[in-house]
């Protein structure tokens, strides 16, 4: 038996049990048959009772018949004949008496309890003991590419859990009665339920469980900011590191895909109505999937020549392999969604025109317009918006130039302005394309960095320098108007304002220059106005984002819905998907009423 298995108490762990009084073992092994052997009293009769020694395997045999639901009056040690009934503990399931034995686990001897009621499938630890054991399992790390190798390639950095690591990690979950993790998930995935299935080695079932609420788990497992969502709320996190929920999600989704367990559902009912989805980002894809599965005929219009939105043109290959995005899109094609590429809605077809042919429209065009700081010298050559820089790299495959036609923006000394995922992706792309020195300049402190913790960690490992509390104030150019430096000023956090936040303020006379021959501005994005040019009656807020009803995502035009970054401003993949789901439900409700 693997010592680790006992230590971490996985499902079906073989239990070594001992009498608390005489310390004799209850484990008996005859040929291949392993049992725990006790003496029992039932209706004033003494008899033998044997139980399965495997955790959570509920098999028992008795020398006399015991009626289902009846209670044994005692359970005794066959060696010392002492009663094992616990005075303090009652069954966690049915409240009956329990017998207390000792098991060796987590390198310790720990009390373990067996319910005396026939049919009550409860034998376990007290919650306190269970916690002690769980706390012994360290949070599992994902194996990943070595940092010195990966900066020379564009392959994904983490390899993902093996099934052993995934099972160990799943074993850490406390299966809380009031799990907080679910509240932390923007689409309320039933996290304890999928982890429970994993503990039963049903990885496929676990994947299906997640998909009830989240249609793109392989993607979310990789890019969601779990540390500020489910994992931030995880109850284990109060005492130890939280359960690695994102990594488990990624594991089961990858398992389902690699084992080819994804089934294409047969859509039985066809609804004779058409849905147009504008934009193929995660929000648009969610609406398309939900509506197609309901039986609607769905067409997605995408402005670019490839599908996937930011998943394809923004997030780099080393963080989200394009084959995974492609797999999800293929699934949509299989369920009958039609895709029209190179269709810039607003330019070639207006929303009004779409409404003439389609019964409802979803706008999920994202926030793809770059924002610049508006400081001096931003027009020098080699000052890129992150949008352009990453689009060239990812969508146009500039890093494969000249195999692909787009030249790569290359710099020896690169500065990236901003502290979000976009900034990390830009900096890490630069280091992979041979830049000698890459510096991230961020105006606030480490605590406020909006990027996922894992991306910051990876960026640091890859040698990217962080200039925190540093604000760019001006670009410096060569005689040929190419950027050659960035003048910055050091910042400090000022007094807390009314909202309690400490804003960064410049430190007088602390200006200095960072030399650079390429700068990437990644401070945020705004809404692209193209789609609105022909639809002035679509109500927008002062930032230019669409106004939509929170409960239905319907806009100011009836049957035109919107969600994702075009409503919220740049946010997250899961939020865009959540909005897509709300919109799909509302659309279906409204269109069903028309019949």
């Amino acid at each position: 038996m693997d010592d680790q298995e006992v230590k971490y108490l996985k499902f079906k762990t073989y239990l070594n049990t001992y009498c608390p009084y005489c310390h004799q073992s209850f484990n008996v092994e005859k040929k291949n048959d392993k049992q725990l052997v006790f003496k029992a009293n039932y209706k004033d009769q003494e008899m033998d009772l044997s139980l399965s020694p495997y955790l959570d395997v509920f098999e028992s045999t008795t020398s006399h018949e015991v009626k289902e639901g009846d209670l044994l009056s005692d359970l005794l040690c066959p060696s010392c004949n002492k009663s094992l009934i616990s005075k303090e503990i009652k069954c966690g399931e049915c409240g009956s008496d329990v017998a207390g034995v000792i098991i060796s686990a987590a390198s310790k001897l720990i009390p373990f309890y067996i319910c005396l009621k026939k049919g009550c499938e409860w034998h376990g630890l007290t919650k306190a003991d269970e916690r002690k054991i769980k706390l012994k399992i360290p949070r599992q790390e994902m194996p990943e590419q070595d940092k010195t190798l990966r900066i020379h390639n564009h392959q994904e950095v983490p390899y993902g859990f093996t099934s052993e690591l995934a099972s160990l990690e799943a074993g850490r979950c406390l299966q809380c009665k009031n799990p907080k993790c679910v509240e932390g998930c923007p689409v309320n995935v039933d996290i304890p339920a999928f982890i429970k299935l994993m503990r039963e080695n049903d990885f496929n079932g676990a994947a299906k469980k997640i998909k009830e609420r989240n249609v793109l788990p392989a993607i979310c497992g990789r890019v969601c900011p779990q540390e500020s969502q489910c994992e931030e709320k995880c109850i284990l996190g109060y005492k130890d590191k939280p359960v690695a929920i994102g990594r488990l999600e990624r594991f089961v989704a990858d398992f389902e895909r690699k084992m080819e367990l994804v089934k294409i559902p047969i859509i039985k009912t066809k609804i004779n109505k058409r849905i147009a989805v504008v934009g193929s980002g995660p929000g648009g894809l969610t609406v398309a999937a939900d509506m197609a599965l309901l039986g609607y005929s769905v067409t997605v219009f995408e402005a670019l020549h490839e599908l996937g939105g930011v998943l394809t043109y923004g997030i780099p290959e080393f963080r989200l392999p394009k084959s995974i995005v492609q797999f999800e899109i293929n699934y949509l094609k299989e369920i009958g969604v039609r895709f029209e590429l190179n269709h810039v809605i607003g330019n070639i077809i207006t929303i009004q025109e779409l409404l003439e042919y389609f019964d409802a429209v979803y706008i999920g065009v994202g926030a793809g317009l770059p924002t610049f700081m508006g400081i001096e010298g931003e027009n020098f050559g080699n000052v890129f918006s992150s949008n352009e820089y990453l689009t060239r790299m990812n969508l146009m495959k500039a890093y494969l130039f000249p195999e692909y036609d787009t030249p790569m923006p290359r710099g020896n000394k690169v500065v990236v302005i901003g502290g979000g995922n976009v900034a990390m992706d830009s900096a890490r792309s630069a280091i992979r394309t041979g830049s000698a020195e890459v510096t991230i300049v961020y105006r606030r402190s480490r605590q406020e960095l909006p990027a996922r913790a894992e991306e910051v960690h990876h960026a640091e490992e890859e040698g990217i320098r962080f200039r925190l509390l540093t604000n760019p104030i001006r670009y410096i150019g060569t005689d040929y108007n190419m950027v050659k430096g960035l003048e910055c000023i050091k910042m400090e956090l000022g007094e807390p304002d009314e909202s309690g936040r400490r804003r960064p303020v410049p430190i007088k006379d602390s200006e200095f220059i960072i030399e650079c021959d390429l700068a990437v501005v990644a401070i945020g994005t705004g809404p692209n106005p193209i789609i609105f040019q022909s639809s002035p009656d679509l109500k927008r807020n002062k930032w230019g984002y669409l106004d939509a009803n929170n409960n239905t995502m319907e806009t100011s035009i009836s049957k035109v819905y919107a969600g994702g970054d075009i409503v919220t401003g740049s946010a997250t993949v899961i939020q865009a998907m959540g909005a897509g789901r709300i919109a799909a439900n509302a659309m279906h409700k409204k269109l069903s009423k028309e019949n």
Partner: protein, 151 residues
Amino acid sequence: MNEFKSIDDILDFAINSEQEAIDFYTKLATVAKTDAIKEVFTDFAGEEAGHKAKLIEIKKNGSFGVITEKISDLKIADYVVNNQPSPEMTYQDALILAMHKEKAAFKLYSALADRAPNADIRNLFLMLAQEESKHKLRFELEYDEYVLREN
């Protein structure tokens, strides 16, 4: 500084400046392309009207508070290049414009305070300068929160 003979002169000047700002934003509101931006400029004009009313009140009562409170200066306006007003302005452009206007007013009143002939006039200019820096801070906070979201 000859034209400022009295406290009332100064207040009239300041009230007049606020009126100019109201007119400026109202005009931008009428030419702005989208409803949301029209509303932004109408709001800015409304805020300036509030400042003007405050000054009229001071003139009427003949008293103003001496400044003790320290207004923080994020200095965003110091480094962001100003833009020209146009009907296509976005909210970011509008904020930049407003920050620069408030900063210019702050600088003017501060300079006037430096050259004030007596303590009363100096205090009044300082008060006006501080008001303007409060207004600038309001725009800078908005800029800090939304435009520089990931920076």
